[in-house]
Amino acid sequence: MKQRFKTCCIPVLICCFGLSGCGDRDIVAETPEQNKVGMEDAPVIPEQVSQDPDLIESIAGFDPSNAGASFRTLHLLAGQESKGDFLNKTEELTSLLSSEQWPERFAAIYFLGLVIDESNAAILVKSLGDKDERLRVMAAGSLIGLGEKRSIPVLIDAISSEELMPFSRPSTPLALLSADALPHFTEGDFELLESKDSVSLGEAADKWKQWWKSKGDDLEWAAAEQKYK
């Protein structure tokens, strides 16, 4: 912080001193605008742009060949949606979740995963049945921590998958998302995290399926503990 103070303030102080001594205010316009955003008013959103992009257009315009820019836009929109404004556009968003265009469905699920909470998670439930396994798992990964237990069998099925999450860097197996979520939000484990080859992973998947079959109907979300019991 000391260096920052020197950088920003000393030139300004010298400049002000010079000005007051000379009584010439014309030079004020030449003072560089340093540190415009201070501790008090810094935005929580990661980036600022001069014009806010439109939510629906941005999701529909998700461009896989320019994924970095498309993700930045979605993150910006998610930061701005902290007030829950997206709920005014549920019809359009629901339509995008059903789009025949894969990138539109991907972007819609990704965006909703960032902004939904327990009170409005239902909007994403239909994506648990998406025809693309990777999108089903992305939706499930977003929903399992919000009390939507229909996400659990989707994640259990993904344990045996060799698919990778689209656009993940480093490349992330769907099974890894399952291994991250299932033991965390349930009281199960079944050596899932310890699995180091496809055989032990398959055995773990079988145990999880048996567990779901015997316990699934009775599971309830304990919000205070953030666990299914």
């Binding site: 030139p11 810094a42 930045r72 960032l114 921590g145 993940s168 991250d180």
Partner: protein
């Protein structure tokens, strides 16, 4: 008088601002210090957001320093390079987002949720004009290192295809900035770290060189291939020794100093019944150091010093040879002129990039065994 005072005020302001402020946009995030032939990158990053914590900042700082510095030490890059990654916790909001700091928003990510971290990279592989990014709260170490590499001016070495799978640029499939193979599922599962190589450090240095106008010393690179067979009278214990190494020198006033890396695989290729040749341990991935000098005729003497020991053993565990791989070989060889711990490869003064020089070994020695093969050295580059 009024005009003079105004001019003086302006002059003072300009002088002080020029001295104390950052020299150009973005550079306060990366400060390269080049001194005594060594390069140190100081990278300053702040993390903020409700999921940012001092502990997270400390963890990412510690792990990224470990990974960057281990990679730099092993890279064989001709300019010794160190990294001082400083990651500070800023709080719920950033100190500032436009004073040249690299500010990363820590995105809350629940277990199982997918989030793609990113930072902005500037045009032409240089620093971004507004350092900012979003990093998942549960980001893997390699994700953090990948994003810091962008701060250092390194572009992605992969492209995303229409299906969302990333494809590494040709030749970058094993590199931290390009790796995306689907084949090593369990390497991904256990979080196996992917790697830097000397190209990454060249890109960092190019970025800094362009941005700051620093001129680094020229580098002279060589690659070597070892291909040897050993044998002994019974024909029972034969060894095939294959390896490669690369060395890169800083060249200043015809003096050379450099480092390199390489590996040697030492494999038994046949056994007689009743013999119990066991094999060889710890010969993979050993680094080499190198030095060089030119003699009065302009010949370049390339000296290679292996840094890691290996041992050859019988199946009962008894070790019959121990030491650095090249000295073990050259103890039996007079083919390289300087047997022992230093190998001295002499390259003529008219060498050109792409030229290959073969150093034959065909050396019977006292116990009736011999080596036969060659070390081939290629002039890989002059800059």
């Amino acid at each position: 008088m009024k005009t003079n005072c105004r001019s003086l005020s302006l002059l003072l302001w300009v002088l002080l601002f020029a001295t104390l402020s950052i020299p150009s946009e973005g550079l306060s995030r990366v400060t390269p210090i080049y001194k005594d032939g060594k390069l140190t990158y100081v990278v300053q990053i702040q993390i903020y957001g409700s999921y940012a914590t001092p502990e997270l900042a400390e963890k990412w700082e510690s792990e990224s320093n470990r990974i960057f510095n281990q990679a730099a030490a092993a890279s064989g890059n001709c300019i010794p390079t160190e990294f001082e990654i400083q990651i500070d916790y800023a709080g719920d909001t950033a100190f500032s987002v436009d004073d040249g700091n690299e500010s990363w928003y820590v995105q809350p990510v629940r277990p199982g949720q997918f989030f793609r971290s990113h930072v902005k990279i500037g045009e032409n592989g240089s620093y971004s004009a507004d350092g900012s990014g979003s990093i998942a709260s549960n980001a893997a170490n390699m994700t953090v290192v990948h994003e810091i590499s962008h701060v250092l001016g390194h572009p992605d070495m992969y492209v995303d295809n229409e299906e969302g799978n990333s494809e590494p640029n040709p030749g970058w499939g094993d590199n931290l900035m390009g790796k995306s193979e689907k084949s090593n599922l369990f390497a991904l599962w256990v979080g196996e770290e992917s790697y830097f190589d000397p190209r990454n450090f060249d890109i960092f240095n190019d970025s800094v060189s362009k941005e700051l106008g620093i001129e680094f010393p020229k580098c002279l690179s060589f690659s070597g291939v070892i291909d040897l067979i050993s044998n002994e009278p019974s024909q029972c214990n034969r060894d095939k020794i294959e390896g490669q190494f690369s060395v890169s020198f800083q060249v200043e006033n015809d003096q050379f100093s450099g480092r390199g890396s390489g590996s040697v695989q030492w494999t038994p290729v046949s056994r007689c019944e009743g013999t119990d040749y066991g094999g060889q341990r710890t010969a993979n991935g050993y680094p080499v150091k190198a030095s060089g000098w030119t003699d009065e005729d302009g010949n370049l003497h390339l000296g290679i010093y292996p840094q890691d020991e290996t041992e050859a053993f019988f199946t009962n565990g008894e070790v019959y040879a121990r030491g650095s791989v090249l000295p073990i070989l050259f103890e039996y060889s007079t083919g390289f002129g300087a047997p022992g711990s230093l190998t001295d490869f002499v390259l003529p003064p008219d060498r050109q990039v792409g030229d290959k020089y073969e150093f034959r070994v065909s050396d019977p020695h006292h116990d009736g065994a011999w080596f036969d093969g060659a070390v081939t050295i290629e002039v890989a580059g002059t800059d």
